[in-house]
């Protein structure tokens, strides 16, 4: 069984793209979430090895969700997924404790390399 990942993005098409890439590379997507509230709840419930986290989402954005997840588990591995080049938000996420980031639109190779890097593979 591959490492367990939760994919968080408000766009179903992006979740599907990430899920396909992750599964093709041997990872198990244990949950998909469309907003930050769901993400925090699923993280608490499933304790995944890694979370991919979109930044701009309704209800609770990716930065707030990252903070809450790190409050639950300081060693949580979260990879941020941002549109184009949201430099300010990404810098904030990295300072808070995100381990890496992916910029949309992304290449498959970049996704895999960020996940491997975050999981220390």
């Amino acid at each position: 069984m591959g490492r367990r990942i939760v994919v968080v993005d408000d766009a179903p098409i992006v979740r599907l793209m990430l899920k396909d890439i992750l599964q093709e590379n041997g990872y198990e997507v244990v949950a998909e979430c469309s907003n930050g509230n769901e993400a925090v709840a699923k993280f608490s419930e499933l304790k995944p090895d890694l979370v991919t986290m979109d930044i701009i989402m309704p209800e609770k954005d990716g930065i707030q969700s990252l903070e809450e997840i790190l409050t639950i588990d300081r060693s949580a591995k979260v990879v941020m997924v941002s549109a184009v080049d949201q430099r300010e938000s990404l810098m904030r996420a990295i300072k808070l404790g995100a381990v890496d980031y992916i910029v949309k639109p992304f290449e498959n190779e970049r996704v895999v390399s960020a996940i491997k890097n975050a999981l220390g593979e």
Binding site: D10, P12, I13, I56, V84, D85, Q86, E88, K104, P105
Partner: protein, 200 residues
């Protein structure tokens, strides 16, 4: 040149700078060449605004995004209903024609393209003019073009009698997909746009 004309020129400059960035981003996203052209930049009376939409009664899918910050704008990206199916197939690397009806992924393709393009515009403010802008999550609407456009201009029309509209047209090369992007400045953006105009 009047203050309003100078502000309108500043908006046109921002649109031109955004177009290059947006073309590259969209091409990468759909894995096909995308060419974006500035179609028109014009001032229109609010009561006539919906008439400028040539697609009146055709069904479209659009993503509305608010860009908030020192220069608030409203952004709209829309595409014909059937073209949203093609965009979904291109993004998901499926054979064209796989998507045959308006589903979650056709809607989401428009949502995500709107998100990515709106962010390209906020990046122009940040990198070229050091103005930090944030975009809201896109709201996706599937409706007639005229109805969609009415929803789009609602906020701006409540504040002004005339709207300055930037209209761009995209072509996804080889697939004959026509997309449209609009930018309308909202109340509160005048000061920042004026300072940009002064730098021009």
């Amino acid at each position: 040149m009047s203050d309003q004309s100078r502000i309108n020129n500043a908006i046109t400059l921002i649109a031109r700078l955004s177009i290059d960035k947006s073309s590259r981003t969209l091409s990468k996203f759909v894995r096909a060449g995308a060419r974006i052209e500035l179609e028109r930049a014009y001032v229109v009376d609010v009561s006539d605004a919906t008439k400028v939409i040539a697609h009146g009664e055709s069904e479209v899918v659009g993503a509305l995004v608010s860009l908030t910050g020192d220069a608030p704008f409203k952004f709209l990206f829309f595409v014909g209903l059937k073209d949203s199916f093609l965009l979904a197939d291109l993004i998901l690397r499926r054979p064209l024609g796989t998507t045959t009806g308006f589903d979650l992924y056709a809607s989401s393709a428009v949502q995500e393209i709107g998100n990515v393009l709106a962010t390209s515009i906020s990046n122009v403010f940040a990198t070229d003019f050091q103005i930090v802008m944030k975009s809201t999550p896109p709201m996706v609407l599937h409706d007639y073009a005229e109805t969609l456009f009415e929803e789009y201009i609602l906020e701006a029309a409540a504040e002004k009698n005339e709207l300055f509209i930037i209209e761009t047209k995209f072509f996804v090369v080889e697939h004959n997909i026509n997309c449209h992007m609009f930018i309308v400045p909202l109340h509160g953006s005048e000061e920042v746009l004026s300072s940009i105009a002064n730098r021009m």
